[in-house]
């Protein structure tokens, strides 16, 4: 069972980041009656899956991805979607303090009991890393007693070796269809992956089933990293 929260704040940089790792968790909280805010920092303007023949240009892609992001929010039943206006692949080059302040104001406004983001140093994409660092710093600066829980998604190749097993594993089996619909909403980026995933699900491939029924998080270890 997913623990009951007062409010959940999810912060990721790209439309579709939420779909893969946390859309089942988001849907479960919404089902529990918990408010969820998803702050998506960019519009994924620099996505590469444009097809051949291409279905989009560099200039039309952000509009497409904005629509997909809204459709994913609808699929999850999420009503508080924030688009933060940054540009894909530039997040790490923003001023670090400006980034922390953005996260502080999101936390102050939404007063979450749980914050979900990536785990810094274990999330591969430079935008993920920069987002995660800013969130971790914002939470770390709060009084220890006021801090929300901080659950982080980690998927770097060295994750298991260095962080061990996840601290939280959410069973999202009963919202599996919602999770798949959230992924389908981001079709411009997920079409190739979904084709493979749905085939494997059809074959009852255990790894694929685990992938869509379990969401795994690490509690951030403040003593070991970004402050």
């Amino acid at each position: 069972m997913i623990e009951q929260e007062n409010h959940v704040l999810v912060v990721f940089p790209h439309p579709d980041d939420e779909a893969f790792g946390v859309s089942g968790t988001i849907a479960s909280h919404i089902k529990n009656g918990t408010g969820v805010t998803y702050a998506c920092l960019t519009l994924g303007q620099m996505g590469r899956n444009l097809g051949n023949p291409p279905f989009a240009t560099r200039e039309s892609l952000p509009d497409i991805r904005k629509k997909e992001l809204k459709a994913a929010a609808d699929a999850m039943g999420l009503t508080d979607l924030r688009m933060m206006g940054l540009r894909d692949k530039t997040v790490e080059f923003e001023d670090d303090e400006y980034m922390v302040e953005m996260m502080e104001s999101l936390i102050q406004e939404t007063n979450p009991s749980l914050v979900i983001t990536f785990y810094p140093d274990y999330c591969v994409h430079p935008d993920h890393e920069a987002t995660a660092r800013a969130v971790v710093r914002a939470v770390h600066r709060m009084n220890e007693s006021d801090r929300p829980k901080l659950h982080c998604v980690a998927f770097a190749n060295n994750t298991a070796e260095e962080l061990g097993e996840p601290d939280v594993i959410n069973d999202v089996t009963d919202v599996m269809d919602v999770k798949l619909n959230a992924m389908r909403a981001h079709i411009s980026q997920t079409a190739w992956m979904l084709e493979d995933l749905e085939k494997r699900l059809g074959e009852n491939d255990p790894e694929a089933i685990q992938w869509v029924t379990q969401e795994r998080f690490f509690e951030y270890r403040f003593d070991q990293g970004y402050k």
């Binding site: 590469r48 023949p53 200039e59 692949k89 994409h125 190749n157």
Partner: protein
């Protein structure tokens, strides 16, 4: 976007010559390239809204083609691997190179107004 037709693209490149234009130039392997293959050396470059004036622009080679822009006496801009193009509804020349999986690998765009 349409597959490159050299003559048509050349005419469009000519139409922006000797004017102040904004350039978007990008090459990319994707941010996950080294995640999927740790031996892969990931490199890319991105310039957006660089304001230039070119005196001569050419597209050369059967697609994937190369596009080069000569800036006055000293400067150059070029992109290799261009496969598709379009003059969009804002009058901007969008050129891109898509790999065999349909992933964007290179982009060169020319506009008389800044890109958003």
């Amino acid at each position: 976007m349409e597959p490159v037709k050299i003559d048509d693209v050349q005419k469009l490149i000519n139409s922006f010559a000797n004017k102040e234009v904004y350039i978007h130039l990008e090459t990319t392997n994707g941010s996950y390239a080294s995640h999927f293959d740790e031996k892969f050396f990931n490199a890319g470059a991105f310039i957006r809204n660089a304001k230039v004036e070119y005196e001569l622009g050419k597209i050369i080679g059967d697609p994937p083609s190369r596009v080069g822009l000569k800036l006055g006496d000293l400067g150059w801009i070029y992109a290799q691997g261009i496969t598709h193009y379009e003059l969009d509804d804002k009058g901007r020349l969008l050129m891109a190179g898509h790999d065999h999986q349909g992933k964007l690998a290179v982009s060169l765009q020319i506009s008389e107004t800044p890109f958003e």
